[in-house]
């Protein structure tokens, strides 16, 4: 099972995402932003970081990278695609997912161990979890507040497309405590916190994050 991990200039968590794929038992293939070639991968991760310095708006410049064209087409055709943090921002900027990620309400970069509940388990990236399961993974970003208009919010809630919510105090001002969402089909997922930093309790707050990566491997076997 080959999972592509895209590197944009300024991407930081590509090696961690690749490690998470390996830990889960998959093969990680690195994809370069400037190369419109998906190298035959079965799924793709857009990892965290500060692509293009997060200048202008997070993800705004990266979404126009050459690799995005075949990627968008493949994802629209059903290929599993996970955007973590900056990757989520890219997905929102590319309108593959609704809404936008905006400045944290306290206006600081925030790095902390965050509890989430998994609310949707029938997506390509969350099937290893049980509904309502609480997990602990790092949250780290400056612009992680999920924003959208009321209509979109009602749609997301109504269709059950919120895959994970923050537990407890709202860390960044996200509407309805949204930590991650999916598209209708369940193959594209955007998640603000970082499961790739929680695959081993030696280096992370838990090993809870591995579930996202084992999920997609299962989904692809099917």
């Amino acid at each position: 099972m080959k999972i592509g991990v895209v590197t944009f200039p300024g991407t930081l968590d590509d090696r961690d995402a690749a490690r998470a794929v390996r830990y889960a038992g998959g093969e990680a293939v690195s994809l370069w932003h400037d190369d419109a070639d998906l190298k035959g991968v079965d799924a793709v991760i857009l990892p965290g970081g500060f692509s293009y310095g997060d200048y202008l708006r997070c993800g705004a410049i990266s979404r126009f990278s050459p690799v995005m064209e075949p990627l968008i087409a493949a994802a629209q055709g059903g290929m599993p695609l996970l955007g973590i943090c900056n990757g989520f921002q890219v997905l929102a900027e590319a309108h593959l997912l609704p809404g936008a990620l905006t400045r944290n309400h306290e206006l600081h970069f925030l790095c902390r161990d965050q509890k989430l509940t998994i609310e949707k388990t029938d997506t390509a990236w969350t099937s290893s979890f049980s509904k309502g399961q609480e997990i602990l993974i790092p949250l780290k970003n400056g612009e992680g507040a999920y924003m959208c208009d009321d209509q979109t919010l009602a749609m997301l809630e109504g269709e059950g497309r919120i895959i994970a919510r923050y537990v407890g105090e709202n860390p960044n001002g996200s509407r309805n405590l949204i930590a991650g969402i999916t598209n209708e089909r369940g193959n594209i997922v955007g998640l603000m916190p970082h499961p790739e930093h929680a695959i081993d309790s030696l280096t992370g707050p838990s090993a809870d994050g591995i579930g996202f990566f084992t999920s997609v491997l299962k989904a692809m076997v099917k």
């Binding site: 600081h108 925030l110 790095c111 400056g142």
Partner: protein, 741 residues
């Protein structure tokens, strides 16, 4: 604008030059003339003035820093020592680790965000220059009083700047310090440390060897950053109207640096460079003269080839610009095409600006005219050396006379009150408000970070080899006795490494002081260096590099002498480290090391406005026995945490809050027991069944070991007093939010 060339300098030897405005003394100017056998061109004057500045030439400190070489221990672990961009240490399995601290104090006072950000950027480039991948940063910081209005301007900006730059580079922040004192109000200290790792074979040096090899400048374009001072050259020598405004502040672009790191590492991996140097202070002046004098000595540079962000820059300004995110590489001609190709891949501007030549002339031309022709060593290494007068300041003996007797808690209510005060005082309060703004997870190798005693990162995923780094300074003790203060800071940093189970290997330092022209300050400095050199020798640790920051003073009030000492250690398997606290109830708490009643220089005395007394005398032989004990007894420990500022009180607070497991403590003489800061102490948690083994080892290493309590519960109970963990946490964590939130 007329160009001052070597020919003109020869033809017009008596032209007046603004050397004083550039910070050169008349005798220094005379020496330049003597070296060149003529007056310098304005470009040469620019180079000498900046390279012979205190910051670049170490003219006041050199004579003292020599001791680090003279007293050095012979260490097989040291692969590259003082003199290069950063020292390199062998940590085994073919890995080499490099680390260094630098200061960016003054710029951070002027523009806190950019000052701190570019401070991080600069030290990271120093580490990259050695051929290493940067893997972690730390940020020892000092500010004025926590509630001073200017601290509310400086601190949030500095924190945002350290985070803004470091986070964007993808470097985990694994520790640092935040300390407040009145003397830092106009002189905040922003020190930044970076650690990097490489294979032995990848070590790179700053040398331009091999005639015919090319000089490649790559990274950001050159702008007018940080050259406020040099504009006098343009205004006085050339045009009466003067040049456009030149910013004194440098603005960093962390995105460009991140790309520069990846691009450089790809270049290193293909072995495409002969020598390399980052551009930091003194920009191209420094890089070209250091590269040339580090190699065979000759170099030709075409300055007009330098890509400019601001086309109005004069050659003098291009030579002195401190624009960030630039590197200079020496590349064999056959490798240049590939070098440029990698740069193009990363969208990094790269330009061949010159070549290495035979001989010992650094020749710089501008549009074909020779504007610099100097022996590079005279610029880079043969700067002036001062043996500045020094005198023990009067305050030392006065302070020694003072009685330090702050009120001590006796009753249960007083103990409670004391613990809450210690928990919430800004110097000892929880620093999450700061560290939550730093990414500690990126790269996926962080084993320890704040609030642990040391930062620890894994460097090999398979073998689990790791390194630990701690930085420490105790300016209160350094103020009372700079010699002992330096030794005590060294011992503390080493101890902080060892509590986690890592073996101390090497030392770096950042010496922050007032004006070297004040004999009292110079004495503090000399005593500090002597203490550090003696201490490192006694502990068998090589000093691999460092940095000196002078002129941190407001009027004639200097900052407290603040030698920040960094110690690096190695741990064979990070999975076996000792955590700083306990998750289990029922463990016995043992205090290793004895406590004495000296309260001088403690946080408790400071809280009661008592700054006098005498510092403890460092017992490094005992510190080393304690370290050996910690390393040998490690398998027995459930937790180990160092005692330092805030004494046992602070250590207990941090331990019970770490994993939210309380403790029951029984101590005689609670005031002294809780508040003394006697060095050489560690609190450990151990299973009852293993105590006998511990005591045997403690006896072997002649370290006192005393049971003071037991873990468990949801409160910190000390004798008859009790504080619930929730209340304690609130008091510990609220301080920073209230002040800066």
């Amino acid at each position: 604008m007329a160009l001052d060339t070597v020919l003109i300098a020869q033809a017009n030897p008596d032209a007046a030059q603004p050397f004083a405005e550039l910070g050169l003394k008349p005798d220094e100017y005379a020496r330049i003339k003597e070296i060149l056998g003529r007056r310098p061109t304005s470009s040469e004057l620019a180079m000498y003035s900046v390279m012979w500045s205190e910051h670049c030439s170490y003219k006041s400190s050199k004579i003292h820093l020599k001791q680090f070489g003279e007293k050095a221990v012979k260490s097989d672990a040291l692969l590259v020592g003082i003199g290069e961009n950063a020292g390199v240490v062998d940590v085994g399995q073919g890995y080499a680790v490099t680390f260094k601290i630098e200061s960016h104090n003054h710029p951070s006072f002027i523009e806190p965000y950019q000052g701190a950000a570019t401070g991080v950027g600069g030290i990271v480039r120093d580490i990259l220059t050695m051929g290493a991948r940067p893997i972690a940063i730390m940020d020892p910081l000092r500010f004025g009083p926590a509630d001073a209005p200017d601290t509310r301007r400086v601190l949030p900006g500095v924190i945002a700047g350290v985070g803004g730059y470091g986070n964007c580079l993808g470097l985990p922040n694994i520790g640092g310090e935040v300390v407040f004192d009145q003397t830092y109000l106009g002189n905040p200290l922003v020190n930044a440390l970076c650690v990097g790792v490489m294979k032995h074979s990848d070590i790179k040096l700053a040398k331009a060897a091999g005639a015919g090899n090319l000089v490649v400048l790559y990274g950001a374009k050159t702008g007018g950053d940080g050259i406020g001072g040099v504009s006098v050259l343009a205004s006085e020598t050339f045009e009466s109207k003067g040049p456009a405004k030149r910013p004194a502040v440098q603005v960093g672009d962390p995105f460009v640096e991140k790309v520069l790191i990846e691009c450089s590492l790809e270049i290193f991996a293909e072995d495409l460079v002969v020598g390399i140097q980052d551009l930091g202070g003194a920009g191209l002046s420094c890089a070209t003269s250091e590269l040339a004098s580090g190699g065979s000595g000759g170099m030709k540079v075409q300055l007009d080839k330098v890509p400019l962000r601001d086309p109005s820059l004069s050659p003098e300004e291009i030579l002195m610009s401190e624009s960030q995110e630039r590197m200079c590489a020496i590349v064999a001609p056959e490798n240049v095409a590939r070098f440029l190709e990698i740069c193009a891949k990363w969208d990094v501007t790269a330009t061949v600006i010159g070549e290495v030549t035979d001989g010992n002339h650094l020749e710089i031309t501008f549009n074909g005219e020779l504007i610099v022709d100097v022996p590079p060593r005279t610029v880079a290494h043969d700067g002036p050396v001062y043996n500045r007068p020094l005198a023990k300041p009067a305050y030392i003996d006065e302070a020694a006379q003072q009685v330090v007797n702050p009120p001590l808690p006796v009753t249960a209510a007083e103990i409670r009150e004391t613990i809450l005060t210690v928990a919430s005082t800004p110097n000892l309060a929880d620093k999450s408000w700061v560290t939550d703004q730093y990414d500690r997870y990126v790269q996926g190798n962080t084993i320890q970070s704040q609030p642990d005693d040391s930062g620890m990162v894994r460097i090999d995923e398979k073998s689990h080899l790791g390194v630990a780094v701690a930085t420490d300074a105790n300016a209160n003790w350094s103020y009372l006795n700079p010699y002992e203060g330096a030794k005590l800071a060294l011992a503390e940093a080493a101890r902080n490494i060892a509590t986690a189970g890592a073996k101390p290997l090497a030392v770096t330092n950042c010496l922050n002081f007032g004006s070297p022209e004040d004999p009292g300050v110079m004495w503090q400095f000399a005593e500090t260096v002597r203490g550090l050199a003696d201490g490192a020798l006694e502990m068998g640790l090589p000093i691999t590099g460092g940095n000196v920051s002078f002129y941190n003073q407001t009027g004639d009030v200097a900052i407290l002498p603040t030698p920040v000492i960094g110690v690096l250690g190695v741990i064979q398997d990070v999975r076996t480290r000792t955590p700083m606290s306990f998750k289990e109830a029922g463990l016995e708490l043992y205090l290793l090391g004895a406590t004495d009643s000296n309260l001088s220089g403690t946080e408790w005395a400071y809280l009661h406005n008592m700054r006098g007394g005498t510092a403890p005398i460092a017992d490094l032989a005992k510190e080393m026995r304690l370290i050996d004990l910690l390393l040998e007894a490690r398998p027995l420990f459930g937790a180990a945490h160092d005692l330092s500022q805030g004494g046992l009180a602070s250590t207990l607070i941090e331990m019970v809050l770490r994993f939210n497991v309380g403790a029951k403590i029984e101590i005689a003489n609670p005031g002294i027991s809780l508040l003394s800061e006697t060095p050489g102490r560690v609190l450990i948690a151990i299973k009852s069944g293993e105590v006998a083994q511990l005591l045997a080892l403690a006896a072997k290493y002649k370290i006192e070991a005393a049971k003071i309590g037991i873990t468990g519960g949801s409160a910190l109970d000390i004798n008859d007093s009790s504080i619930g963990l929730d209340e304690l946490r609130k008091s510990h964590t609220e301080t920073f939010k209230k002040l800066f939130g």
